[in-house]
Structures are given as structure tokens and as C-alpha cells.
């Protein structure tokens, strides 16, 4: 399998310690996001992080070109994610007050080792979002391709590309992270 970059990636099988480290990383991340512990979550990100979620479109014949090259739902770096977190921490982030009750279901994890020693993880994400008592719950489905770097402090997310499955999102906004 090849990531965005053309380098060769080696698939890790299920008893490779790195496989478990990555699964552990993704599951812990989901826990932090669902518990709204954003500071801790920021701690899992590399300083040179790139966090991308391109817009999906419906094209004829195939899935080729079904992500827009020039429009994203997210195209973040540490600064912008930091600002988003700071905002959510204010008393005025109305759209998450009251907060959503989210559940990030992570499945179908595939882990690869890059020549650079970095790890590449692809996973499926099913996000459930419930808010208040009257609104119907909302769903977001996507595949994430993550690049993880080893540091003494543990793995750090260097790049994430979220490919969402809908061209028209059925959720009020992305005041949450995927």
C-alpha cells in the first residue's frame, strides 16, 4: 500500500508491538475527544502537524476525483487547532454549550511502517453525535489515514487525512474533531 507520498510502506501484522501501539493511540485519542479533554489531545499531536479533511463530491463512473483538491472541511495546523481548542474552552462557544455527547467508534485499523520509521495508520471512524433532548442524533462516517512519529514521549500525530463518506454533511457543524 502506498500513502500520499510514494514511499513504500510495510504492513504490520497484528502481533507487531507497533500495531498495538497504534491501536492504543487511536483508542486513547477517541477517549480524550469524547471526554472533551482537548489539552491532552493536543499533547498527542506533533508540532508540525497537518490535519486535513477534504470535501467529498459525487463524480460519474468512479471514486476518482471524489475529493476536492481546493476545498476542505479542515486544513489545520497546530496553531489553528490550538485556537479551536481555546475557543471551546471559553464560555461563549455556544454551539457546544450544552456539549454534544460524541462517540468515536474506531475500527478496521491497518498499520504500516514507512522507510523513515514513521508509522502510517488507516482506520475507519464512525462518529455518533447526540445533543440536547429534542434533536435527532447525527452520524459521520469516514476513513482516516494517519502518519505517526515516534518520540521519547510516545507516538505523535504528524498528519491526518480524513476522507468523509458524505458529500453533504448531515451534522450541524464540525465544532468537534474527527
Amino acid at each position: 500500500m502506498k500513502a500520499a507520498t510514494e514511499e513504500v510502506l510495510v504492513r504490520l501484522d497484528g502481533h507487531d508491538p507497533d500495531y498495538h501501539a497504534v491501536v492504543d493511540f487511536l483508542v486513547r485519542e477517541a477517549e480524550l475527544l469524547d471526554e472533551r479533554r482537548w489539552r491532552d489531545w493536543l499533547g498527542m499531536l506533533a508540532d508540525d502537524l497537518s490535519y486535513e479533511m477534504p470535501v467529498r463530491v459525487t463524480r460519474a463512473h468512479s471514486l476518482e476525483g471524489s475529493t476536492l483538491p481546493d476545498m476542505d472541511h479542515f486544513r489545520e495546523d497546530r496553531f489553528t487547532l490550538q485556537k479551536r481548542v481555546e475557543r471551546l474552552e471559553t464560555e461563549y462557544a455556544w454551539t457546544e454549550d450544552p456539549p454534544s455527547r460524541t462517540r468515536h467508534f474506531v475500527t478496521n485499523v491497518r498499520v504500516y511502517r514507512a522507510e523513515s520509521g514513521e508509522l502510517v495508520a488507516r482506520s475507519y471512524l464512525l462518529l455518533f453525535r447526540s445533543r440536547g433532548d429534542v434533536r435527532e442524533p447525527e452520524w459521520v462516517c469516514a476513513e482516516r489515514t494517519d502518519r505517526l512519529r515516534r518520540t521519547e514521549a510516545g507516538l505523535r500525530l504528524v498528519r491526518r487525512v480524513v476522507v468523509v463518506d458524505e458529500s453533504v454533511l448531515r451534522t450541524q457543524n464540525l465544532a468537534i474533531f474527527l
Binding site: 479533511m53 470535501v55 463530491v57 459525487t58 463524480r59 460519474a60 476536492l68 481546493d70 476545498m71 476542505d72 472541511h73 479542515f74 486544513r75 489545520e76 496553531f79 489553528t80 485556537k83 479551536r84 481555546e86 475557543r87 471559553t90 461563549y92 462557544a93 455556544w94 454551539t95 429534542v134 434533536r135 458529500s167 453533504v168 454533511l169 448531515r170 451534522t171 450541524q172 457543524n173 464540525l174 465544532a175
Partner: protein, 449 residues
């Protein structure tokens, strides 16, 4: 559900500045809007920059009617109903792409991207050939009216609609600030699309004149130091204008020349240069003499614009961006938002990058401004759905005295068309809803506000 005369009562109350909440949720009101507003007004479909090459197309809706906006083989932009003339199949099911022909999957009728029907299997056997079935009469339909301004493609389903020029009227003056910063005009990127449980009018009203919500709704943005302008005083000094079918809000700029003031909001000199050359003297003077910079705006019924200039990096300078957004109704309580990032074609690459970043931070699905706006709109829509709450008359009288007189004079010496006011007031929301009332009453002709 509704007794007769109810709509008349609604219209009368709205004109007094009292909005029965039900207008933001009632299915009967929505039914009338579909027939009298959306079937008669000029509606935005796409921008020419979205379909640069012959054969390029995007598929867009007017409420639930699907149209293909395509640049035909001769380079002409066309709007074609996405409905096969035989049995009504959608001849195009993608959202965008490039095609010389649209072939219907049901029975294979084939249309050129001009809309002409060029292929009918067994034309002779099945239809008796041209004598009995002239293909020329069965091309893809087009909406009764199609026209464009600054590359923005509009259509109307009403054959009697005024010309687009007349429809836009004085609002064109303001439209240029968003979509004509150079002779080349803008490029549209996107749109992001998502569905929100809000009535389409609430966002349209907000963008056309609600300067009053900024300090509080968007307080979080200030707290994190991304944006100073939203400060209440800054907002208060701004002016709101309304001209014919549209209106908007502005910010008051600090003293300085035309260039200094545009630099202040973050435009690089080369762009300022082009603006100076592109805009008319009257337009320049809005910045130069009057000292106002356009911000949010709405063109009746459901197209909005925003121009804003937050910081995009720690301690960095403001970076302006423009976004165009469509409030596409899905039903009385649901709207599909289309949000484009818009930037001048000739802008330097680096500016485009930063301006895009500025947009993403502020508007669209993940935009920190938009998120809190939409939260208000969905909640209002929910409330409006109650039997009793729907009868509550909401307050749309800011800027009016107890007896309905103006608390403040229109701005004198305003360089642009229409009427402008400085300071807080629901002048434009009233003007917008007056248009809405006129359409509900079936009046088509130009509406002085």
C-alpha cells in the same frame, strides 16, 4: 391547520416589525414561499469560474428542482433542467464533471451539452422519425430566465421576472466589492455543503443586517484574540445599507487613504492597486471618503456574502477573505448550506493561501463564526415549531421608536445606492422582510425600500 386570512395577518404583523415566530417553521408558509418566492425570484446557481472549460458542469438545485450548469462546446454557459424529456430521468447524476453529452440511462436519449436532443434510439420505428417527433422540440428544458453578473449565474422560474440587472438594482454597487476586485473577477472554490435544522430566512436576515449579534454571539473569537473588529464599539460605528433587492453591513475604518484603509484590513498593495483601477469613483469613495468596509450582506432571497479579516497566525496581521453562501431550503425547518471561498483571480498565491486559511477558520462547516450563528438559527427554528410559541410575535423593531418612527436619520452623504444607517438597528431585516411580504403578496416589480 391554518384558518384563512392567517397569512394576511402574518404579513401585516411583519410589516409592523412584529414577526410571528411560525414564519420560521410553518409548512404552509413554506409551501407559499416555494410558489411565490423561490418560483419568482432570481436564484443563484453557480459561478462561471466553477466551470472554466467547455463541457465542465456542476449540478445545482433551486429548492428541489435540479439543474445542470454547463459550459457548452461553444464555451457558452447554459442552465439545463436535469430532467430527460422522455420519462423524466435525471440525465446527470454526478455533482460536477466534464461531458460533451448527457445520455439518459433509461432509454438512451442523448443530449449535447447545449441541451439539444441528438440521439433517440429507433427514432423512426418508435416515433415515426422527424415528421412526427422533431428532436428539436425535445431538448433539455432551460429555466425561463438565465443571466449572470460578475460571473455569478442566476436563473428565475418566472417568465415575467424583471431583468437580472433590474432585480439587482443598486445592490450591484456592493456586489462588486465581493466579486470584482479586479477586471478578471473572482474564482470560487468549493462549496462545502451541509444540512442544518434551521429555516432559510434566519441566516439571510442575519447576514443582511445583524451587526447587533456580533459582539455577543462571536465573543469567543475575540477572547482567543483572533479578531478585534467584532468589538461592540467597532460594530456600532459600522453602517448598514439596503439597495433594492439586497443589503449588508460594514465596518468603520480608521483614518487613512484608500490604500491605507485596505492595507489595514490586510490587502497587499498589488491587489489594492487593482481595486483602485477596477472600482468606480463612487465605489472607491465608500472606502476613501466614507471610510466603510463591507462585511456581511444578503441578496434576496437566499444568497449571502461575507468579508472579514481575522488573524491566521500568532500575532500575525489580519487576512481578509470573502465567502459566498447559499441558504438552500430543504423544508420549513431544514436548510442546506452551500459555502464557497471566493478570492480574486489575480491575487498573489500566498494571499490566496492565507485568505483560504482565514476563511476556514471563520466560516463553513468548521468555521468558528458560523458555528455559533447556526446554533442560534437551529434553536429559533425549533422554538418556532411550538403551537403557542409560533404565535409569539418576535421583535424586529430595533431603531424604531415606540410609535414606529425612525430613531435615527439615514446617513447623509452615503456614496452608494439605497439607504444607509450608522449604528445598531434592524433596518435591513425589516427591508428584507418587506421584500418577502411583497413576494408573498404576489408583487413582482421593482421594490423601493
Amino acid at each position: 391547520m391554518r384558518q384563512d386570512g392567517w397569512l394576511d395577518w402574518v404579513v401585516a404583523e411583519v410589516r409592523e416589525g412584529w414577526i410571528p415566530a411560525a414564519v420560521y417553521s410553518d409548512p404552509a408558509v413554506f409551501g407559499v414561499e416555494v410558489e411565490r418566492v423561490f418560483a419568482r425570484a432570481w436564484l443563484f446557481l453557480a459561478h462561471e469560474s466553477e466551470i472554466p472549460e467547455p463541457g465542465d458542469y456542476v449540478v445545482r438545485r433551486m429548492v428541489h428542482d435540479s439543474f445542470i450548469v454547463v459550459r457548452d462546446e461553444h464555451g457558452q454557459v447554459r442552465v439545463l433542467a436535469n430532467v430527460c424529456r422522455h420519462r423524466g430521468m435525471q440525465v446527470c447524476r454526478a455533482e460536477r464533471g466534464n461531458a460533451s453529452h448527457f445520455r439518459c440511462p433509461y432509454h438512451g436519449w442523448t443530449y449535447r451539452n447545449t441541451g439539444d436532443l441528438v440521439g433517440v434510439p429507433f427514432h423512426e420505428d418508435a416515433y415515426g422519425g422527424g415528421a412526427h417527433f422533431p428532436k428539436s422540440e425535445f431538448g433539455l428544458l432551460a429555466p425561463p430566465r438565465v443571466a449572470s453578473y460578475n460571473g455569478l449565474i442566476f436563473a428565475s422560474l418566472d417568465p415575467q421576472a424583471p431583468t437580472l440587472e433590474d432585480y439587482l438594482g443598486g445592490f450591484r454597487y456592493y456586489l462588486d466589492f465581493y466579486t470584482r476586485q479586479s477586471p478578471d473577477g473572482p474564482e470560487f472554490h468549493g462549496p462545502q455543503r451541509w444540512r442544518v435544522r434551521a429555516n432559510w430566512k434566519i441566516g439571510a436576515e442575519n447576514f443582511c443586517g445583524d451587526t447587533y449579534h456580533t459582539p455577543y454571539t462571536h465573543q469567543s473569537i475575540a477572547e482567543i484574540g483572533l479578531f478585534g473588529e467584532h468589538r461592540a464599539t467597532k460594530r456600532k460605528e459600522g453602517a448598514v445599507y439596503f439597495a433594492d433587492r439586497g443589503g449588508g453591513t460594514t465596518y468603520k475604518l480608521p483614518p487613512g487613504s484608500f490604500a491605507e484603509r485596505l492595507r489595514y484590513v490586510g490587502y497587499p498593495d498589488e491587489m489594492i492597486e487593482r481595486m483602485a483601477q477596477t472600482w468606480s469613483a463612487e465605489q472607491r469613495s465608500l472606502v476613501e471618503e466614507a471610510g466603510f468596509m463591507v462585511s456581511a450582506a444578503t441578496l434576496f432571497p437566499n444568497l449571502s456574502f461575507v468579508h472579514n479579516w481575522p488573524r491566521v497566525r500568532e500575532g500575525g496581521p489580519p487576512v481578509p477573505f470573502v465567502s459566498v453562501r447559499l441558504w438552500q431550503p430543504v423544508g420549513p425547518q431544514e436548510t442546506e448550506v452551500y459555502s464557497w471561498f471566493v478570492v480574486d483571480r489575480q491575487a498573489p498565491e500566498e494571499f490566496k493561501r492565507d485568505s483560504y486559511r482565514s476563511y476556514l477558520l471563520s466560516f463553513g462547516t468548521s468555521g468558528m463564526f458560523e458555528q455559533d450563528d447556526v446554533e442560534n438559527w437551529t434553536s429559533i427554528t425549533t422554538v418556532a415549531g411550538g403551537w403557542w410559541s409560533g404565535r409569539i410575535r418576535l421583535h424586529n423593531r430595533m431603531g424604531l421608536s415606540q410609535n414606529g418612527a425612525m430613531l435615527r436619520e439615514p446617513l447623509r452623504g452615503w456614496p452608494g445606492p439605497g439607504r444607509a444607517f450608522q449604528g445598531f438597528g434592524e433596518y435591513n431585516q425589516r427591508a428584507f422582510l418587506e421584500l418577502w411580504c411583497r413576494y408573498l403578496e404576489g408583487v413582482r416589480e421593482e421594490v423601493p425600500v
